[in-house]
């Protein structure tokens, strides 16, 4: 059976050409493999700059991968022809992070929502179009009376609803949500999250949900993949990840979530180094420099994701082993 999204051994390196000297190469995604299952929400969690958004861009075909496989419904995205690519748009849609900049300020809601239909020549009949737009607005919690208004007349949450409606206009099967609530204030976040959850259920959507907020991920996601410096360091069903994190980075992130009940613990061993040694970076554990469990072996051992439990993969050779030992000792 083909899954909605399958990414295998994806590499993406940005190259800045320089007139003199060597071209600057910045590897952003390193050997990323992911699977988004049907009617699941896969959360992609990681700190800023770890490559989450680049992954989305590659999946959406905005950026070309350096190497690797990006399959949507069994079709490899980077090799699609223009017309196949356009068809793919109706399957795969996206909600962006910033609802302030992702809506054309010179278009009113009617134009914004009609655009995807015009592009794909859908619902051309006037009555049908009208009914469809109404239905779409109702689905995202807006009303027909707001059709003639412009984006600047709406609040952030309402704008994000418009963005969601726009993405849903093509009736996609897969939705990529690139930090859709991080630009909104907390009270509005909950409304948008509820909306996404509801839509996922009513439309049987599969969703790739990018976030840096664990609370948000826990609320919405079935599976979670944790990224660090362009790699997936751990991947597990959501509840499993929260109750039994196996990678030191996941553990550190989870305990870094501020809580009013528990005092904060020191979770990172060292400071983040801005640029790691390029040679070592390419294959050893990227987190070793900040890891409190770091062993000398971490500097030499190759980095690899390994199954530690069913559906649970982790890229650390030290911590699962240690946990396992301490458990067996008790």
């Amino acid at each position: 059976m083909t899954v909605p999204v399958r990414i295998e051994h994806l590499f993406k390196t940005y190259t800045r050409r320089r007139l003199l000297g060597k071209n600057l190469e910045k590897p952003v995604l390193k050997d990323v493999s992911l699977t988004l299952e049907d009617n699941h929400v896969l959360g992609l969690v990681g700190e800023s700059g770890c490559g989450k958004s680049t992954l989305c861009k590659v999946l959406l075909g905005i950026e070309k991968p350096t190497s690797g496989l990006v399959e949507v419904n069994g079709q490899n995205v980077p090799t699609l022809s223009k017309s196949e690519f356009k068809k793919l748009r109706r399957v795969l849609q996206v909600v962006y992070q910033d609802p302030y900049s992702s809506l054309d300020p010179r278009m009113n809601v009617r134009q914004l929502l009609s655009e995807p239909l015009d592009i794909h020549r859908l619902k051309k009949d006037k009555q049908e179009r009208k009914a469809f737009l109404k239905e779409l607005l109702t689905a995202v919690g807006l009303s027909e009376s707001q059709l003639e208004r412009y984006p600047h007349e709406f609040s952030g949450g309402q704008r994000q609803r418009i963005c969601i409606a726009r993405a849903l206009a093509l009736n996609p099967q897969i939705l990529v949500a690139d930090e859709p609530v991080s630009a909104l204030d907390v009270s509005v976040q909950a409304q948008i999250l509820n909306l996404l959850k509801e839509i996922k259920k009513s439309r049987r959507l599969s969703m790739l949900f990018v976030t840096h907020d664990f609370a948000v991920a826990r609320f919405l996601c079935d599976d979670i993949a944790v990224m660090y410096r362009g790699r997936i360091v751990e991947r597990a069903p959501a509840e499993e990840l929260f109750t039994n994190p196996q990678h030191p980075y996941t553990e550190a992130l989870l305990s870094a979530v501020p809580s009013v009940h528990a005092p904060r613990r020191a979770v990172f061993a060292g400071q983040e180094t801005p640029e790691e040694h390029p040679e070592r970076e390419s294959w050893a554990c990227p987190f070793a420099a900040r890891c409190r469990y770091a062993q000398p072996a971490c500097q030499t051992q190759p980095f690899a994701l390994q199954e530690v439990a069913p559906r649970h993969a982790c890229a650390c050779g030290v911590l699962p082993f240690k946990n396992h030992k301490s458990k067996s000792a008790v």
């Binding site: 996206v94 962006y96 992702s102 300020p105 093509l170």
Partner: protein, 291 residues
């Protein structure tokens, strides 16, 4: 684009209303020039009627409302028909400069790479020479004539539009809503025409409206220097040129011939002021965030 919202904005802002009133007034003068100042030379309406060959200007009178300038050319006729000529020069030059700038800047931004480099270095070359000096050189090369003067003015006015359009297209190209349109499946032409141009063009429209006044001012300078309209033409710059010998008045009476400068100078001043105020109003109106 013209709707209640825009009209309301013009009415509520006093300075923009003032600008609009001035421009509309000049527009009416230009339209009704044959009524306001009947043509005396049917072959060339822009030819100033000459009352006599007496040298010294004559003050305003019942017959010549604004007085006469050197060699008895009628100032009233000159100001009225000069208005029509000012619109002709301002609108034509700005239109063509805008068009050339849009094509050059648009091509540079859209194709990028080498095309961008070549086109932009070309505009830099034009920019490097002071525009009035360059316009003078071109006008002098082509010969003193109103048409040649307009060519010269267009040749120096387009680079600012090219640069503006290119910069705005490049910045709009990067915006999220352009990427968003692409991810909806929109292709190049649609993205360019529906999203990039409408959002990138308005700063240039504002500059164009401010430029109409400035072009007329520069045209007047060229005419003043003898590189545009010829003596006897109903051109504001030319009228001031003809006042050159009388500006200082007579010994002991510095303002003896004030009317030779006040009528055409005032017209230029008001015309430029009107377009500037209107340009400011356009800037406010074309920003969709200000409803």
């Amino acid at each position: 684009m013209i709707n209640d919202r825009i009209l309301k904005r013009i009415y509520t802002n006093k300075t923009s209303l003032f600008g609009l009133v001035i421009v509309v007034f000049f527009l009416l003068v230009a339209l009704f020039a044959p009524v306001l100042a009947p043509v005396e030379n049917p072959n060339n309406a822009y030819q100033l009627p000459q009352k006599s060959y007496q040298i010294a200007p004559q003050p305003p009178s019942a017959e010549n409302w604004f007085g006469t300038t050197e060699q008895q050319y009628d100032l009233y006729y000159g100001v009225v028909w000069g208005t029509r000529l000012a619109f002709k020069i301002g609108l034509t030059v700005t239109f063509f400069a805008f068009l050339i700038g849009l094509l050059v800047g648009g091509a540079a931004a859209y194709f990028g790479g080498k095309t961008d480099e070549i086109l932009m270095r070309l505009t830099d070359v034009v920019f490097a020479v002071p525009s009035l000096v360059l316009a003078m050189v071109i006008a002098a090369m082509l010969g003193p004539d109103i048409k040649n003067m307009m060519i010269a003015l267009t040749a120096v006015a387009w680079p600012s539009y090219a640069r503006l359009v290119r910069g705005d297209i490049l910045s709009v190209k990067q915006r999220d809503y352009v990427t968003a349109a692409r991810t909806l499946g929109a292709r190049g032409p649609r993205v360019l025409l529906r999203h990039i141009l409408p959002n990138a063009i308005y700063p240039s429209v504002v500059v164009a409206s401010l430029d109409i006044g400035y072009v007329v001012l520069t045209a007047a300078s060229l005419s003043f220097l003898g590189l545009g309209a010829q003596p006897g033409t109903a051109d504001w710059g030319q009228l001031i040129a003809m006042a050159r010998n009388w500006v200082l008045g007579t010994p002991g009476h510095p303002f003896a011939y004030w009317y030779t400068v006040v009528a055409p100078g005032g017209a230029i001043f008001m015309f430029v002021l009107g377009w500037n105020l209107l340009g400011d109003a356009f800037r406010d109106i074309l920003d969709p965030r200000q409803a």
